[in-house]
Amino acid sequence: MNVSLSHLSKRFGSVTANDDISLRLLPGEVCALLGENGAGKSTLMKLLYGLLTPDSGEIQLDGKPVRIPSPRAAQALGIGMLFQQFSLIGALSVTDNLLLGARGVPFWLSKRTLARAQHRLRELAPGIDARRLARDLSPGEKQLVELSKVLSAGARLVILDEPTSLLAAPEAERLWRRLRELARAGHGVVLITHKLEDVAACADRVVVLRAGRVVLETRAVSDRDALVSAMLGAPLGRRPLKRAAAVAPPRLSVCQVCAEWGDQKLEQVSFELARGQILGVAGVTGNGQELLGRVLAGLLAPQAGRIALDERALVGPADPRIAYVPEQPLLNAVAGSLPLLVNLHALGVRQLPWWLSFESRRAGAQQLLERFDVRPPELDRPAATLSGGNVQKLVLARELSGEPALIVACFPGMGLDAAASRRLVDELLAHAERGAAVVWIGEDLDQLLAHADQVAVLQRGRLRGPVPVAQADRRELGSWMAGAAA
């Protein structure tokens, strides 16, 4: 199926998300859409998938102009889309989930229908038992089931929105392989991403979007520098940073901490961090990262063990010495219906005057938004109207603007583009230089190894390590993540 988008434009109020974009998508080819947060990648694909309607421009399928008013229409035309969030129903088996999305499923489910669905799944992912419940699958397996679901709905063009953002490295590699195979089998594949490694690993062609326009279209998918400079508009320079030497006594000491929360637990977690040290906590998601963040931030009292910051115990959830960047910022760290201005001052709500007035705080807040590049930098805009990456920037602007003694950051880079992740790293390093202890719970081992002083691995609630980064062995860390015995 030959898809061509010509002169598509889409505006949201004063923001132009897509500005006169023309693009051809060919069968048998993996096309990567690369760009920063808010570059318009997802918007463009939502136009194609019928979730949004273009303000102007035309979509042609095999030379014939089509109108795609809804996802259902898109599916009927053979266009399928995978979103970042999984749509599988956890309580149902893999087979049931596959049948939910499929076309032409008879009312009475015969063994043959089931077998057909399972056969399709086996072609794509031989390792997945179709009888398992969807909630027991790993993120990578879920992704493959989703993919199978979209394919069994008859999709010949598959759009994937940031598919590797939740995947561990081996799972991402498997997904890349599958996408290559799909392309070889004649499907068209569109990969929305802001990761260069996705592009290099599996794209035939890359289209770089910046500020709603196509700035580069090339088949040189491994040309890192060209892609980065097209994405950002200017090449990034690396800035060498010095760090204060670690001196005793420890700034943060965590001793034999046990905690439980939902289905997560921590067992006997102990470590010490000196002034100015960054601890990188690596691990596969779902091994207690969120809980560790909450406990260190003082939001959950541990069942056993003690945590001391500057040799004093934490004072509970509202400890002013701690900056905390939680996972899922929109749910956990901002009030979506309140303006950015109020969100920036949310932690000090008890110090606000009874009769609210924010006038004196506007200028400072405006500077913060600009310093952290929150887009659009409109103080009165409700936080929920920001894109995911910008919500994260808003949280960083609030949490990293003070002088905390401890910074606990749980997946702080989630949703950030290259420039914003750099700024995040710079800010964290600056705080470390000032003397703060930083616990950086992350998913990207490379990033942790590049910037942390010590690295540890969280696996099933147990902390392995920490070891100084200089002595860290990738393979050993990898085996810790996989749960090998000590």
Binding site: F12, G13, V15, K41, S42, T43, K46, G50, L51, L52, T53, P69, S70, P71, R72, M81, F83, Q84, F86, S87, I89, L100, G101, D161, L299, P317, A318, Y324, P326, Q328, L330, L331, N332, A333, V334, A335, G336, S337, L338, P339, V342, A346, L347, G348, V349, R350, L352, W354, W355, L356, F358, D380, R381, P382, A384, T385, L386, S387, G388, G415
Partner: protein, 408 residues
Amino acid sequence: MDGGGRGVTALPLQLSDSAQRPASPGVLAAAWRSSFRPGLRALLSAALLFVASASLFFLVLGRAPLPLFLALWDGSFGSGFALSETLVKASPVLLCALATALPAALGLISVGAEGQLGMGAIAGSAFVLLAGEGLGLATLPLMLLAGASGGAAYAALAGFLRARLRVNETISTLLLNYLPPLLIEYLVYGPWKDPASVGWPATISFPDAARPSTYFDTRLHAGLLIGLVLVAIFHVVATRTRFGLCLRLLRDSPLLAERAGLSFRNWVLWILLLGGAAAGIAGILEVSVIEGRLQSGVGTGAGYAGFLVAFLARGRPLRLLPLALLVSGLSAAGDNLQMSADLPSSVVYVLQGLLFAAALIAERRRSVPAFAAEVGGWTALGRPCSAGSCPRRSAARRLCSGRCSVRR
């Protein structure tokens, strides 16, 4: 941004609507304005749907709709007397709407106004019967205080269950509604029964000192004024003060609120308690002004009508006023329907139900294609919103239509 803030709600009991579009300057007040869009189209379609479904209902009863609508109008707003009766009915409804709207500002769904009203009636009556003699002018305020504390204490029970044991407040308040009417029955048939009355189960008539005065030769009483003042206070406090900001923080992100030093547990308790006090005042006023004694069936339906009003108001305090008038107009017209149109007065409950359903449908429906896509597409089977930052999805772990206006 198509879709907007309105109508993406999947659960009918969501009492307030969150922001989706940029606000104008003015911080909190602006946030309130923008977060609850006026939705004129929804209002109109609700009205239309209501008239259509009510007509259908009348036709099923074998009656011509138009005369019945006229009878409804006559019985609610058609004459000075009808209007006064509507206003009399509006005062408990307004107070009970407050008892629902206040917890809703915190994201709680309390349906307990009915029970809190009953407990207020019992507590206020207990004060009058046990200590009401010889207090003179102090009687009335103390009686109101007793009624308020009765409602508050009863609501605090649900608040305690929610705060400490995480019992869902909707379930607990709903179930707690069954107790007060039975307790009243027990009291008026048993210990508090007026010995002078032969068959009629009721307490003795309240002394004059415990009967608030009525005005303009009607049954209008101070309850309406109390309700108006409380609504005005609620509006100002919620939109202009730190208290309102705290409510919004707690509703939007409990974790953030906790880090700001606000304790969700305490707030749940106190907000439910305040709401219960409003319903309790409604209860004792119904007893003391309207009946003059405690008897069974006091204030029946006002609690649920209040819930209906609070729901329709979508969390905007000032909207409680016209809506309370509308809903109590419907109840007031019940008597007229009975007398002039020979229909049982319980017809008004059917009409209230239709109004509620009409509002829900109008609220839910957006553009016809979006609606059709949602019903027809596999969105109905649970495809979550495509936007990673969709507040609807994450905030309540609810499925969003995927057409909400959150942009990536």
